[in-house]
Amino acid sequence: MNDRKVEAASPLQMPVTNVSTQSSLKKFAVRHKDALIATAILSPMILWWLVLSGFPTLFGFFLGFFDWVGIAAHPKFIWFDNYVRFFKDPLYYEALWRSIWMGGLVTGITLIAGFGAAILMNMPLFGKGIYRSIWYIPAVTSTVATTQIFNLLLDTNNGVINNFLKSIGKEPIVWQYSVFWGVFWIVVYSVWKGVGGAALIWLAGLQSVDVSLYEAAEIDGAGRWGKLWNVTLPGLKPIATYIVITSLIGAIQIYEQVLFMTGGGPYGKTEVLVFRIYRDAFWDFNLGMAGASSLIMAVVVFVGTVFYYRWSTNSDRSSTIKIKGVKGGPKA
């Protein structure tokens, strides 16, 4: 009840009471009122956060330096052996590379399709609110539930898509045996789930572009494409930075669809790094490798974010100020 005591000394009474005669404790309370309230409110939250995220994250970074297979086993400190193995064993560095290019692919397709949809939704159409809802619906569904539906559609013997192929006289495809189709459907699923959200964010960006700029462009004789190229796209720069970074961070860490759709198969050729971490940790109990892979993933995500952020803010600093709050704070 620290804050109660502090509130008793409200600022109104301060000029009346002689500060010098107050006990030093009270003086301290008055002088540091804000800090005391902040401590009272924040400390339980921060403590909880440390238990749930802060400490586990730090611990995760340390796990990578141990040889630790099986929860009950005794961990052995082995310096960087796990990291050396990471870059020697194709199981790992290929999974990392797959995470990166699949994440990039998913982000690219999602954002481009979402942008197209947003431009269409920004037109004065009847019922555009309904379109917006329909496109966004996949995003609110559960990954577990909808991947099962996709699995059902892709069933080899009695799947909808194979039945359809058979009905038009084509050979049915065993999707599960093919790396290409595995990746293909993972990407399709991710885009299916993400495109509505991307469209919404782009739409918010489109609507925030200053209307008077369009009028000015019109007076200068710009056509529809001219306006898109010269007004809309530059105006979208801050939001583009935001959406590309957040989508990439999300897409590189895809693993649920891999877990539920392909299980990493065939022959682990659709394993992405986060799925590999999951597999190490919960199937093989190789905690050391899982920790090392997590740290590498974190570094990749962090470095990627910083680089992209630098690159996209270098060309135009003025328009990205507000976004700074998200990724580096207002003063970064």
Binding site: E7, A38, W48, L52, F61, F126, G159, V160, N163, L287
Partner: protein
């Protein structure tokens, strides 16, 4: 009146607008297709589903509501009500804490002045960039070695709080950093004079937060509530990793178990049941979405532009 309607219709049917309609509608239907399929397949019995050839739009010959009844009344092979209730409780609990922590922390970081505030906030925001997967195993170990719980002495011995309700109780009230960020941004837009006036009238800190500032934060709070609720409702990882007994399972974890049981060789997956469970998960999420839709749009706009 009629003319204006005809005019409007003509405007909507102009080539450009018509094509836009066509694209948005057709792609929208394709996006909706898996869910439509899910509803239709829910009418099948297990036998009919495995024996008949499933077309693009499967129509059951002997449609049954059995699967939907199972959702509400449970069945012998799956305590579905239990999963529902667990999911529901977890969602409400986590949402409550997310709202409370983001409001309080948002207020502290927006209004109070103390040393190291900006640095602290930056650190918290920065941790949002670290992939969450890194904490999965340490959290598991932490739960397993939780002091004085589940037969543990100080650190080892038993199973800690793994597979107990404590996983949910302790895991719920985490500081919602993104929410705090949004609330902070939003409070900073409110003139400080409002706080001052309330203070002059004798309002304390909590009164200012809950009676003066909270009513102005409702759209942001709604956005935080929706995103947290949906994330918790759809979260399969926490129950799947940290619990194993049946009484603690939630809907997504139950689906995961049903489908992995189906993956074992020789087992015929109970697809209609899995689908119905999926439907049971999806419908509440859709309802939440439709009721609070405008807040999602607003919130996304806020995170993107003003954020």
């Amino acid at each position: 009146m009629k003319e204006s309607f005809a005019k409007k219709l003509a405007f909507q049917l102009k080539p450009g607008n018509f094509i836009a309609h066509l694209i948005l509608l057709s792609v929208g239907l394709v996006l909706l297709y898996p869910l439509v399929f899910m509803v239709l397949a829910g009418f099948f019995t297990r036998d009919e589903f495995t024996s008949s050839i499933i077309g693009l739009l499967p129509i059951a010959k002997a449609p049954t509501l059995h699967n939907f009844f199972v959702l509400f009344y449970g069945s012998a092979d799956a305590g579905i009500q239990k999963y529902f209730i667990n999911s529901g409780y977890r969602t409400i609990y986590n949402t409550f804490w997310a709202l409370l922590t983001s409001l309080l922390a948002g207020y502290v970081f927006a209004r109070l002045r103390f040393k190291g505030k900006d640095q602290l906030f930056l650190i918290l925001l920065g941790t949002q960039m670290i992939p969450g997967t890194i904490a999965l195993i340490p959290t598991y170990l932490e739960f397993a070695r939780f002091p004085f719980a589940g037969g543990n002495n100080i650190f080892t011995g038993g199973s800690g709080i793994l597979d107990t309700w404590w996983v949910y109780f302790i895991g719920g009230p985490s500081l919602n950093i993104m929410g705090a960020f949004l609330v902070k941004q939003s409070i900073e837009k409110i003139p400080y004079e409002l706080d001052e006036a309330a203070k002059v009238d004798g309002a304390g800190t909590f009164r200012i937060i809950f009676q003066i500032l909270l009513p102005l934060q409702l759209p942001i709070m709604a956005f935080i509530a929706i995103t947290t609720a949906l994330a918790t409702w759809n979260d399969f990882a926490t129950p799947f990793f940290y619990t194993s007994s049946d009484k603690l399972q939630t809907l997504p974890a139950a689906i995961t178990r049903l489908s992995s049981a189906a993956a074992s060789p020789g087992a015929i997956p109970n697809w209609p049941l899995i689908i119905t469970l999926g439907l049971g998960m999806t419908v509440p999420a859709l309802l939440i979405f439709f009721f609070f839709q405008k807040y999602i749009v607003q919130g996304l706009a806020n995170t993107g532009i003003k954020g």
